[in-house]
């Protein structure tokens, strides 16, 4: 019994770590000017949220949180596919993916 419980980490630790990773993802979106790196920061934020979901799922002893993480992963995969296609299309017309240079809406 002691060996089983000694491996359990309090849920609070996971939540704090999730908050730190989320804040770092926000920092990436705020500080980086490259569209691909901004996308990666969004992925980091999604993963931080997923970590909180799984931690709460264990804490509440409920599988709904884990199923929701599954859906978040699916949506993230779809988002990455469309987003990277958009980046490729923008790079074709502008020859750059620096978002500071993308201030006009003309193609």
């Amino acid at each position: 019994m002691f060996e089983e419980t000694s491996f359990l980490v309090p849920t609070n630790y996971y939540i704090i770590l999730s908050a730190i990773l989320f804040a770092l993802g926000v920092g990436g979106v705020l500080l980086r000017r490259n569209a691909i790196l901004i996308f990666m920061s969004v992925e980091l934020m999604l993963n931080a949220a997923n970590l909180a979901f799984v931690a709460f799922a264990r804490s509440m002893f409920n599988l709904d949180g884990q199923v929701f993480v599954f859906f978040v992963m699916t949506v993230a995969a779809a988002e990455v596919a469309v987003g990277l296609a958009l980046i490729v299309a923008i790079f074709r017309s502008k020859k750059s993916i620096d978002i500071d240079e993308l201030h006009s809406m003309e193609g």
């Binding site: 491996f7 309090p10 609070n12 599988l63 596919a81 469309v82 296609a85 980046i87 074709r92």
Partner: protein, 196 residues
């Protein structure tokens, strides 16, 4: 105790990998830092009684999505990334805002109101069963049972979503209509220019 030590080591690696991604000047290096981060998160899932999600995390995130990122970076030849922005005041302001967000979220999450509503340490061991299920908590069988009973409609919707995303990606990423065919067939190209 051992679990907590492992947690802190993994958390340190995850945070350092995230910072490495943010400060890297090479997009390929940033992607590889993010793979380290995602692998750490997969290991956290293993410690949180979610072995199925840990495997999905490695195959889908660290595998498929990151390979897609690497593909696009190398396809565009956009490895070099400059750090400095055109707006000088943006970097210090961004750092201040991020630190403020970190502090505020930590204070809110550690406040007694939130901590009381949370069961402090989960009573979940690896072999305990979730309610109404014959399988271990977080195993592939238990997830499948929930996914295909209570969440059947959302599951079908994700199939539609993935189809839409696939079609959208093809439409967005292809060349303008007809251009590729002309390039593959120079005779037709010269004929059309002669007709012009």
């Amino acid at each position: 105790m051992l679990g907590t030590i492992l947690f802190f080591i993994l958390a340190l690696i995850a945070i350092l990998a995230a910072i490495g991604m943010l400060t890297s000047t090479n997009a390929v290096h940033a992607t590889l830092f993010l793979v380290i981060n995602f692998t750490c998160i997969a290991l956290f899932y293993l410690g949180l009684n979610a072995p199925f999600l840990a495997m999905v995390q490695i195959t889908v995130y660290a595998g498929a999505i990151m390979v897609l990122f690497l593909f696009v970076i190398m396809l565009l030849g956009a490895e070099r990334v400059q750090l400095n922005s055109t707006l000088r005041w943006q970097v210090p302001l961004g750092i201040v805002l991020v630190v403020a967000l970190m502090v505020v979220s930590a204070v809110v999450l550690l406040s007694p109101e939130v901590s009381i509503s949370l069961p402090s340490v989960a009573p979940v061991a690896a072999d305990t069963q979730s309610e109404g299920s014959n399988y271990g908590f977080g195993s592939a069988q238990a997830i499948g049972e929930v996914l295909f009973n209570r969440y059947l409609l959302p599951f079908e919707m994700t199939g539609v979503l993935l189809l839409v995303a696939m079609v959208g990606a093809i439409v967005l990423a292809r060349d303008e209509a007809g251009k590729t065919i002309h390039n593959l067939n120079p005779q037709a190209d010269s004929e059309s220019s002669a007709a012009d």
